[in-house]
C-alpha cells in the first residue's frame, strides 16, 4: 500500500523507540503515509496500524485528533492559515480573506481544478512572523501580506 521509501522512513521512526513501545511511532508513520498518499483513508490508517503493530482504532484515534492529518482528499497545495490571536491581530484574517477571494473557496474547501485547499490552522509557534501560512503541512511562510501571497502562489503555479 505504501512505497518502499515510505516504509523505510516508517522503519526509521520505529527505530527511535524501544521495541515494546512501537505505538510511539504512529504519529510519524501516519505523517509519512499522508505525505505519500496525500490523505489518509481508513484503509491506509489500518495498513499503517498493522505495520506499526497496534490496533487500527488506536491509529484512528490519532488520525482524527490532530487536524494536520487529512482524512478527505485535498488539493495539490494545502494552504493552512493561522487565525489564532497573535496572527489574527497581525492580519491573519485578512490573509485568509484575501486567499478566499483569490481562490474562490472557503475554509475546508478545494478549488474545482483540485489545485488548492484552504484550511484554517491553529498556532504554528511562529507568532513573531505573523501572519503565518503553512503549505502542505511542511513549509512555513511568514509575513503573509497580499504581496507575499501573490509571490507564493506564483511559485506554486
Amino acid at each position: 500500500m505504501l512505497s518502499q521509501e515510505s516504509l523505510a522512513q516508517i522503519d526509521r521512526e520505529l527505530a527511535k523507540y524501544p521495541a515494546d513501545q512501537r505505538r510511539s511511532a504512529i504519529m510519524g508513520a501516519l505523517r509519512i503515509a499522508q505525505t505519500e498518499k496525500r490523505y489518509l483513508t481508513n484503509e491506509l490508517i489500518e495498513f499503517v496500524a498493522g505495520y506499526v503493530r497496534i490496533p487500527p482504532v488506536a491509529a484512528y484515534e490519532v488520525a482524527t485528533f490532530y487536524n494536520m492529518y487529512d482524512r478527505k482528499p485535498v488539493g495539490k497545495y494545502k494552504l493552512t492559515v493561522c487565525t489564532n490571536l497573535p496572527c489574527a491581530l497581525s492580519g491573519g484574517y485578512s490573509t485568509a480573506e484575501y486567499l478566499k477571494q483569490k481562490l474562490g473557496i472557503g475554509f475546508g474547501e478545494t478549488t474545482a481544478d483540485g489545485k488548492y485547499t484552504l484550511a484554517e490552522g491553529e498556532c504554528m509557534g511562529a507568532c513573531g512572523y505573523a501572519p503565518v501560512m503553512l503549505v502542505n503541512n511542511h513549509s512555513m511562510c511568514s509575513h503573509m501580506t497580499p504581496e507575499a501571497i501573490e509571490k507564493k502562489l506564483a511559485e506554486l503555479e
Binding site: 489500518e46 490496533p55 482504532v57 484512528y60
Partner: protein, 769 residues
C-alpha cells in the same frame, strides 16, 4: 507509610497510594466516573476533585499521590463547588432521557446528579447528538449518553488485551467508537456494560425488558468453564432476566465472560421441555412423572435382565452438579451398572492419577507465578477469565510459554511458543523436556522415549522460560485433555514439571470436572465405542457433548432404551425413548467444584419451569421407584455432605498413579485440529441466540488452514470445502489461519455443521466442494 488526614480523620497509607485509595480505605466516598480499581488512571472525568491543603486549586483524588502530612477535604465548600461545576458540564450534553434509558436506576450519573446536580440547567444551546455504533450482538449503544470516561476503551486495551474501542476526534466532537466496520469481539466484552457509568453501553439481549428495581438479585455460580465464576442472577416473575458478576477476588474478580453473562437466554428458550415424554410406537406422548419414572425403571430392569448389567451405561456432562452425579452413580450401582462417565469429550481414558486432577494450586497462586507453560489450549476461548488473569500477570513480569497446535493470539506477550501438528503434541512436549534435560544435565525418565533429531530452537526457548524459575506452573488445556494421547502428554508434562519444580495443573474443561472425579463418575471409558443396549443420559447430547459425536449418535440410535434427563427437547426428541425434563443450574440447588478444588454451592434462583424438576430429585425418586435403600434425601445439602464428606484438599492430586510409556510417533498427511468452540461447549451456550451471533461463533463454522496447505489443496479463502472423516462429511467455508502448522486442518468439533465428523485429532480429507 505516609500519614494523611482526610476530612479530619488521620490515617497512614502505603507510599504510592492515591488520595482515592486512602479515602476508600476508610470508607470515605469520593464521587467519580472514570476511576475504576481494575483499570489504569485516566483522571479525565474530573468528578473526584477534592480540596488539598496548600494546593492552589482542587485536585483529582484518583490521580493525586498521597504525600506525607497531606490534608484532604472531600466535602469542603471548595471541593463541593468543584464537583458541582464538573457535574454541570457533564450534564450539558447528556440527553437526560432517563425514563427511556436502560441504565435508569443503576446509573452512576443519575445517582451523582442527585447529590451534585442542580434542578435546572443554565445551558440553553442545542445539545450534541452522537450516532450509535454497532458493537456486535451483545452490546447496545446510545452514544449520545456517553460522558467520555474512557472506561470501556481502557477495558478493551488493558483487561481484554486488544484495544477494540477508541476515542476518536477531539473536543466537542469526541466519540467512542470501534474502528470503522469493526465490532467488539472479545470473549469478555460484556464487562463494558457493567463498567459504563451511564446508559451509553447496555446489554442488547436485556434491552427494554425490565427495570433494575423490579429485579431480585440472587447469587449463583456459572455452569460453564472450570473457573466457577460467581454470578448475580436477576429475576423477575420467576424468569431469569439477566446475569451480572458477583465480585469474588479469588475467582472472577469483578468480571464475567460473555458466556457466563449471556447464556441465560437459553433458560427461557422455546426448546425447553416442561413435561415428561415417552415415545410409544414411534410417537411422542406426554406423560405424568409417575408413569415416566416407572417406564424408566422397568425399561432399565428389563434391559439388565435380558442383556446383563454391562449393557447399560450412564453418561453425564461435567456441567452437572456434584449432587446429580453422586446420585447418578449411586443409582447405577443400585442397578449393578459400573459404567458412569463424564469425560465425554475425552479420547484417551487411560490416565490414572493418585487423586482428582485439578489446577494444582489456587487461581490466585497461579496468577502469582513467575513462569507458566500452557500445553494444548485455546486458552482465551476455553477459560476466558483465567486467560485475562494470566494477561495481568504477564504485565507484572510473569513469563508465558505455550506448546500448541495453533498460534492463536493470547493478546499478551508470549515469552516462547512452540507450534506443532496436533498429532505431534506429545513429541512437542518431549522436545521441550529434552531441551530441559540438556540444560539441567539430567536424564529422561526411563518410561519416556528420548526421540531423535535436533531439538528446535522454539522448544529450547520454551525450556528456557521454565528453567530456574522459583514459582512455575505447567497447565494442560482442553486440546490436551481431549487428545487421543492425553496420558502421554500428561506424563511428559509431569516430567517437565518435575524437572523444573513447577506445579502441574489441569484446567478443568467444565464447571464440575473436579467434582465429577470426586464422586467417581469416571468409570465408563468410551461407552459409545462398543454400543450398549441402554443409555442413561444426564444433561448430555450425543452428537454435541461426545468427542466422536457421529459414533455416539449411531450407538444411541441403535440402543433399545435411551433415557434422556435434559432441559431441552431438540436433541433428545431425535433419539431418546423417554425424556425426563430436568432443571438447568438456575432452577436447582447444587454444588460445583471448580478447577482449584473449591466447592461452591448455590440455590435455585427461580422455580422449575412447568413440570421440570431438579435432576437430583428425579434421581432420588427414581431410586425410590426402583426400591433402592439410601434414597431418602430431603435436601440437596444432605447429598452434598455425603458426596463430599471430609476435606476435598487431600483428595486432589495430579501425581501419576503409575508411569506412562511415552513413545515418539511419526506423523504425516492431513490432520484435523478439532476443538470445541467457545459457544458450543455446553447445552446452554449452544442455545443462547445472541452468543450464536458473535464473531467467535462465526469462526467456528469455518475450515481453517495455513496458506501453503490451502494452496496444496487447491483452495482459497472464501471457497467452500468438503471435509471427510470416517465417512462423515462437513461442508464449510474456507479461511486462512496463518498460525497453524503445515497440513493441519482446523475444523471445530461438536458443531451443527461438523457433527458428522469423527475424532478431534485424526486424519481428515479435504476437497473443494
Amino acid at each position: 507509610m505516609l500519614e494523611i488526614e482526610i476530612d479530619g480523620k488521620k490515617l497512614t497509607v502505603p507510599s504510592g497510594s492515591t488520595v482515592m485509595d486512602a479515602a476508600n480505605s476508610i470508607g470515605v466516598h469520593i464521587p467519580h466516573f472514570c476511576y475504576h480499581k481494575k483499570l489504569s488512571i485516566a483522571a479525565n472525568c474530573r468528578m473526584c476533585l477534592v480540596q488539598v491543603e496548600k494546593a492552589p486549586k482542587p485536585l483529582p483524588a484518583c490521580a493525586t499521590p498521597v504525600t506525607d502530612g497531606m490534608k484532604v477535604f472531600t466535602h469542603s465548600d471548595q471541593a463541593v463547588t468543584a464537583q458541582k461545576g464538573v457535574m454541570e458540564f457533564l450534564l450539558i450534553n447528556h440527553p437526560l432521557d432517563c425514563p427511556i434509558c436502560d441504565q435508569g436506576g443503576e446509573c452512576q450519573l443519575q445517582d451523582l446528579a442527585v447529590g451534585y446536580g442542580q434542578s435546572g440547567s443554565r445551558y440553553q444551546e442545542e445539545k450534541r447528538v452522537v450516532a450509535n455504533k454497532d458493537l456486535g450482538p451483545l452490546i447496545s449503544t446510545d452514544m449520545t449518553r456517553c460522558i467520555h470516561c474512557s472506561r470501556c476503551v481502557r477495558f478493551t486495551e488493558e483487561i481484554a488485551g486488544y484495544q477494540e474501542l477508541g476515542m476518536a476526534n477531539r473536543g466537542e466532537f469526541t466519540e467512542v467508537l470501534p474502528f470503522i466496520g469493526k465490532t467488539v469481539n472479545s470473549e469478555i466484552s460484556g464487562n463494558v456494560i457493567d463498567l459504563c457509568p451511564v446508559g451509553a453501553l447496555t446489554s442488547k439481549p436485556f434491552r427494554y425488558s425490565a427495570r433494575t428495581w423490579e429485579l431480585s438479585r440472587r447469587k449463583s455460580v456459572s455452569p460453564h468453564d472450570g473457573l466457577g465464576a460467581n454470578l448475580v442472577v436477576q429475576v423477575k416473575n420467576h424468569k431469569v432476566m439477566r446475569v451480572l458478576p458477583l465480585e469474588n477476588e479469588a475467582i472472577n474478580e469483578c468480571w464475567l465472560a460473555d458466556r457466563d453473562r449471556f447464556s441465560y437466554e437459553a433458560l427461557n428458550s422455546e426448546e425447553r421441555i416442561t413435561k415428561p415424554m415417552i415415545k410409544q410406537g414411534g410417537v411422542w406422548q406426554e406423560a405424568d412423572w409417575q408413569t415416566a419414572l416407572e417406564f424408566v425403571a422397568n425399561g432399565l430392569k428389563g434391559v439388565i435382565a435380558e442383556h446383563g448389567r454391562d449393557a447399560v451405561a450412564a453418561v453425564a456432562t461435567p456441567h452437572s452438579t456434584v449432587e446429580e452425579l453422586f446420585l447418578l452413580r449411586k443409582l447405577m450401582s443400585g442397578l449393578g451398572v459400573d459404567a458412569v462417565e463424564t469425560r465425554l469429550r475425552a479420547a484417551d481414558f487411560s490416565l490414572k492419577t493418585a487423586g482428582a486432577t485439578w489446577l494444582g494450586q489456587s487461581i490466585a497462586d497461579l496468577a502469582a507465578s513467575d513462569a507458566v507453560l500452557v500445553i494444548g489450549s485455546t486458552l482465551r476461548k476455553e477459560q476466558p477469565l483465567l486467560a485475562q488473569r494470566l494477561r495481568q500477570s504477564v504485565k507484572k513480569g510473569m513469563q508465558l510459554a505455550v506448546i500448541n497446535p495453533h498460534g492463536d493470539d493470547l493478546l499478551t506477550a508470549k515469552a516462547a511458543e512452540l507450534v506443532v501438528r496436533p498429532d505431534q503434541l506429545v513429541e512437542g512436549v518431549v522436545q521441550v523436556l529434552r531441551a530441559l534435560a540438556e540444560v539441567k544435565g539430567i536424564a529422561l525418565q526411563p518410561n519416556i522415549e528420548n526421540g531423535s533429531g535436533d531439538i528446535p530452537a522454539e522448544a529450547r526457548a520454551v525450556a528456557a522460560v521454565l528453567a530456574g524459575k522459583e514459582k512455575a506452573a505447567v497447565l494442560l488445556g482442553n486440546i490436551a485433555q481431549q487428545h487421543p494421547r492425553y496420558a502421554e502428554i500428561y506424563a511428559a508434562a509431569a516430567a517437565i514439571a518435575e524437572a523444573t519444580g513447577a506445579k502441574l495443573g489441569v484446567m478443568s474443561e467444565a464447571a464440575n470436572s473436579v467434582g465429577a472425579q470426586l464422586v467417581g463418575a469416571e468409570t465408563g471409558g468410551d461407552v459409545f465405542a462398543k454400543p450398549r443396549q441402554a443409555y442413561f443420559m444426564l444433561n448430555a447430547e450425543a452428537e454435541f457433548d461426545v468427542q466422536n459425536g457421529a459414533q455416539a449418535l449411531a450407538a444411541v440410535q441403535k440402543a433399545k432404551l435411551v433415557v434422556a434427563l435434559s432441559s431441552f427437547s431438540s436433541c433428545a426428541l431425535e433419539h431418546a425413548d423417554v425424556i425426563l425434563p430436568v432443571s438447568p443450574f438456575s432452577e436447582t440447588s447444587g454444588t460445583f467444584v471448580n478447577m482449584e478444588g473449591r466447592a461452591q454451592s448455590f440455590n435455585g434462583v427461580v422455580r422449575p419451569l412447568g413440570e421440570t424438576r431438579p435432576a437430583w430429585k428425579v434421581l432420588r425418586v427414581l431410586g425410590n421407584v426402583l426400591g433402592f435403600a439410601g434414597f431418602d434425601y430431603t435436601t440437596s445439602e444432605e447429598i452434598r455432605d455425603e458426596a463430599l464428606a471430609g476435606e476435598i484438599g487431600p483428595r486432589l492430586s495430579n501425581a501419576l498413579a503409575a508411569p506412562v510409556a511415552v513413545k515418539a510417533q511419526a506423523a504425516s498427511g492431513l490432520v484435523r485440529l478439532g476443538e470445541v468452540s467457545i459457544y458450543q461447549a455446553d447445552m446452554l451456550s449452544r442455545r443462547a441466540p445472541s452468543l450464536q451471533k458473535t464473531a467467535d461463533a462465526a469462526v467456528a463454522a469455518q475450515l481453517r488452514a495455513n496458506a501453503a496447505t490451502l494452496a496444496k489443496l487447491g483452495l482459497a479463502a472464501g471457497d467452500r470445502a468438503r471435509a471427510e472423516q470416517a465417512g462423515g462429511v462437513a461442508e464449510l467455508a474456507v479461511a486462512v489461519d496463518a498460525g497453524l502448522a503445515d497440513d493441519v486442518i482446523r475444523v471445530s468439533a461438536n458443531h451443527p455443521l461438523t457433527r458428522a465428523l469423527a475424532g478431534h485429532v485424526a486424519a481428515i480429507t479435504v476437497a473443494k466442494a
